[in-house]
Subunit: 303 residues, 2 copies
DNA sequence: CGTTGCCATAAGCTGCTCTCATGATCACGC
DNA sequence: GCGTGATCATGAGAGCAGCTTATGGCAACG
């Protein structure tokens, strides 16, 4: 059975007159494209393309097939478009409220998937420094959906997205990393000066609460407003920082330790009751695509 | 990206009003169908089907999508049809000449694949008892393509299909099978009465030739005109038979031994020069699909 | 003649598509 | 009300398809 993908590949090769350029456009490698064209030719039973040294041209067989291939691709696009219009998903604007750290760590992958599936639905993002701010804004009707910790006394739909894990960041050569098997008792860092968050920043409260549970109040070497700065400053030697694991990029150059006991924060997507199809669809994409615990740290953080 | 298969599945479910019946028609299981409908609904972002206890009905979203799905499927079929018509592959008659044993062992799988891909191209089969007969018929222009051993002094295209392996068949409890590790020196069977082939049958010559090389002339308990009978008669105890491995069905109830030295016969597809697209396409299918060495004996027969 | 451009092929990895097994829900008949 | 049958959903596992990386072959060009 020939596939829409094969037809799309053929159309692109013909338009570009080159396997190599078509492969680039399609975001696959040339051998994959070459192979699929062969598969398609075998399904038909005759060559569709004539490979010339510096170009590619259609055979008469290929010329007969091409317009129907284009039509099939157009029909497939129209089927999706018509279905989405019927479901109210084709266009519009979706308002998303969240925390700074979430918009840095968890959201990007979900937003990427969403834009791919719904290119004409605009996203408007509201960022908040603190959990309480976020909830208050939602109660006042700020956005269609919020992404944050479970909201107390919320009467609309609440969808669990996963549990964020916090990690301690230090320079690669910090002596605390020499033993402990990738874990650290926060009490060991009681005398350090910490990379802390600015007052009113949601993670400041979390750091205070966690250190208090470990028996000390952290002194700050620096207080940052930007979640993304904290791991960089810590790796540079300004002191330990406690950050959500999901804000660390792959290949982050620093010492990453798990606090013992673990510091975790569940994340949810919550919206108002009687939500529209767009919001529902977005929450579905979030639940599927949000990178709450990034793959490159998942193995290291599991018990 | 939604696929033609998903659309085909949806159309069939809607026409049948039942996942179970649609799955039967499509020759897949119900869970596969159920899963693909879910995948499609996720790609769209909204339900397409409403599952009722004894039936299935379309949602408004599904109703919007369906006509375009039908159109895409129709365009895909037209693309294949148009391409094949341009290539001269859509209809017609193909004449195939071969040996009795080949039409029994090697050809069926290739013909099955051919009929699937080219349902409107009729096959006319000419069977011959002997290699020389086959070649003479082809020289006289009998068929479009012949399947048999390499033809001497043939001036058209010759395509190798693989090498047939011959095996000795005996009853399961024959003492020759007790040692030898699945192999047998034909000389050991010199005093036996053989299940032989009728004079003029191509395999009669081959048996005579092979036994002469082992130093004896076989006596015949029976001479059969039918290649398919030989293994059955041998397994029933009328004597050893030498048959192409590919005529043995899976689960054949008999002792199967490899002659030592091995007895092999290459097979080719040969046709006249300047052959038409249909013949070329058929030879391609043959080269890909012909079961020269069946999978269930392949491991046992390898060195 | 050497270099560059471009497609084909092989090997290996990952994700998709299927099957089988099982569970949940509903309708129907006794 | 209970048992049975029909039907779709979900989970686990196997095999296959589709991809990537590496490499080779061929033709054109300087």
């Amino acid at each position: 059975m020939i596939t829409l993908r094969q037809m799309e590949y053929l159309v692109t090769v013909v338009e570009q007159g080159s396997f190599t350029r078509a492969a680039e456009l399609l975001h696959v490698t040339q051998p994959a494209l070459s192979h699929q064209m062969r598969v398609l030719e075998r399904a038909v039973g005759a060559p569709l393309l004539e490979r010339l040294p510096r170009s590619v041209r259609l055979t008469p067989t290929g010329r007969a097939l091409l317009p129907h291939a284009r039509a099939a691709l157009a029909d497939a696009r129209r089927s999706l478009c018509a279905a989405r219009q019927a479901a109210g998903l084709e266009a519009g604007e979706l308002e998303v409220a969240t925390l700074y750290s979430v918009s840095l760590g968890v959201l990007p992958s979900a937003l990427r998937a969403w834009r791919q599936a719904h290119p004409d639905v605009h996203i408007r993002l509201f960022e908040h420094r603190h959990v309480d701010e976020l909830l208050a804004a939602m109660r006042e009707g700020q956005a269609d959906v919020a992404v944050g910790p479970p909201p107390p006394d919320w009467d609309g739909p609440v969808r669990a997205l996963g549990v964020e894990e916090f990690v301690v960041v230090l320079p690669t050569d910090d002596p605390v990393g020499a033993d402990g098997g990738g874990r650290v008792d926060l009490g060991v860092l009681a005398e350090r000066e910490w990379v802390h968050y600015a007052p009113g920043h949601g993670l400041a409260d979390l750091v205070e609460r966690v250190c208090a549970a470990a028996g000390f109040q952290p002194r700050a070497s620096v207080r940052t407003e930007q979640t993304a700065s904290a791991p960089l400053l810590a790796a540079a030697g300004l002191g330990p920082a406690l950050v959500p694991a999901n804000v660390l990029p792959p290949g982050f150059d620093g010492l990453v330790l798990r606090p013992d006991p673990p510091v975790r924060r569940p994340l949810t997507a919550y919206s108002r009751r009687g939500g529209d199809p767009l919001t529902t669809a977005f929450v579905d994409v979030l639940a599927r695509e949000a990178t709450v615990l990034p793959a490159h740290l998942r193995d290291a953080l599991q018990p």
